[in-house]
């Protein structure tokens, strides 16, 4: 999968994975905080659902910048793996769940044959991992033992969070980065530059 990549892109993906691993770990604490507030109502785990989208964001950013098959999947898996290196108490299982989330985003980009990176597709790529991770949670975390109304509301919250935080925020961050000019040698940066030249002329 990586044969068509140049070293520059691979290293960028690796470093984005590392940076977002730190952010992911930080948001784990945020989620725990919200959970504590919701626990007395028996809705504790919703604390994570609200901000779940943040854990998919590196897929969208990397895929949007590099635009090659595998970007979404591999970057997310790296972020999962680096959290293990950083000593996340969730352990090696994080690599598996990150892989599944990455697969969710990757499948959306694959469905467009890696040609379309419009706003709608990026939002869909934020929703994909929400659904994939939810199915994984049904099995792995035992969500299957929960009642249907609760499950569906959890899924809805997670999908919205994925669309907004991963899809829209991911797109926004990538574009602000393109504006700074550091992405000149990557696909998004080049596209941004041609747009700017067209505007100027």
């Amino acid at each position: 999968m990586l044969n068509k990549w140049n070293l520059r892109e691979i290293v960028l993906m690796a470093i984005l994975g590392v940076v977002f691993a730190v952010i992911y770990l930080f948001f784990f604490t945020v989620g725990t905080g919200i959970t504590n507030i919701l626990t007395p109502f028996g809705l504790g785990p919703f604390g994570y659902e609200v901000i779940f989208g943040i854990w998919f964001i590196v897929s969208i950013i990397t895929a949007y910048i590099i635009r090659k098959p595998g970007a979404a999947l591999i970057s997310e898996t790296i972020a999962g793996g680096v959290q293990v290196l950083l000593g996340s108490p969730a352990g090696p299982m994080l690599i598996v769940s990150a892989f599944i989330q990455g697969l969710g985003a990757e499948s959306v980009f694959a469905a467009t044959k890696y040609r379309n990176y419009s706003k709608g597709v990026l939002i869909a790529a934020g929703i994909g991992p929400a659904i994939f991770s939810f199915i994984w949670g049904l099995y792995h975390s035992g969500y299957i033992a929960l009642s249907l109304p609760l499950l569906s509301s959890m899924l809805i919250v997670r999908v919205i969070s994925g669309a907004l935080i991963a899809g829209l925020l991911g797109k926004w961050i990538s574009e602000r980065l393109a504006e700074t000019g550091v992405l000149r040698s990557y696909t998004l940066g080049k596209e941004w530059q041609t747009k700017r030249e067209q505007k100027a002329s």
Partner: protein, 262 residues
Amino acid sequence: MLTSINPTMKAFAVLIPALLLAFSFDPLTPFIYLVFTIAITFLFGKISFKRWLLVFSPFLLLAVSFAWMTMLHPSDTFSGGEVIFSLWSLEVTSDSFWTGISLGLRSLSFAALSLLFILTTDSTKFMLSLMQQCKLPPKLTFGILAGYRFLPTFRYELQVLKQAHRIRGVGRARGVKERLHQFRRYAIPLLANAIRKAERVALAMESKGFTGESDRTHYHEMSINKRDWVFVSVFFGMFLVSIFISYQLGILNIFGIEFEKY
């Protein structure tokens, strides 16, 4: 002793039971596994109990929270049995109670397994072992290791950024709108710097003759011994044992199907 097990094999040893334990919905199976994992951690791990407890305790809270949610909102399969108590018009039955306990214990045994790995594994060795045993491409491995090494630098850069803002009279953010603005002022320059670093690292790697071929020699050879295989088998075997004990006692429950002993 745990520190000398091959990291990749250790990762598999804790992953396989964690994947399989998700089948069981009775309280005993995860409980036996939890006790086993904790015993192994302290018998072979040379880990201070205080440090372990410090990392483990947040999970205790999460497990209680999740168990509580399951008790209050179970699916039909798990809501049989007598009513034990009721709260805000929600009834907790004996089935849902034990399912909640089971799921709580399950997440605790996942946490104990993870800690066994995290507290006894060196990050660099784990990456090197992934490259040598799992055929992770060297380009990716060294990219990740380089990024990992930069993390302390990022913290330093954040400090510099904060001081630079302060010296120019940008005060602390108040209110939601200012906070969002502040997020942008910090996040974008930090990420831009990270991207610049990535580019420089890639150039440095290429100029030093790094081709990224997997057919290469290694300074730190990681190997798999017989002991590593024994380690993985013990963890897998213990899963079978815990299932067997639950079955013998007539408690085993897989996806809501109870296995009575005849």
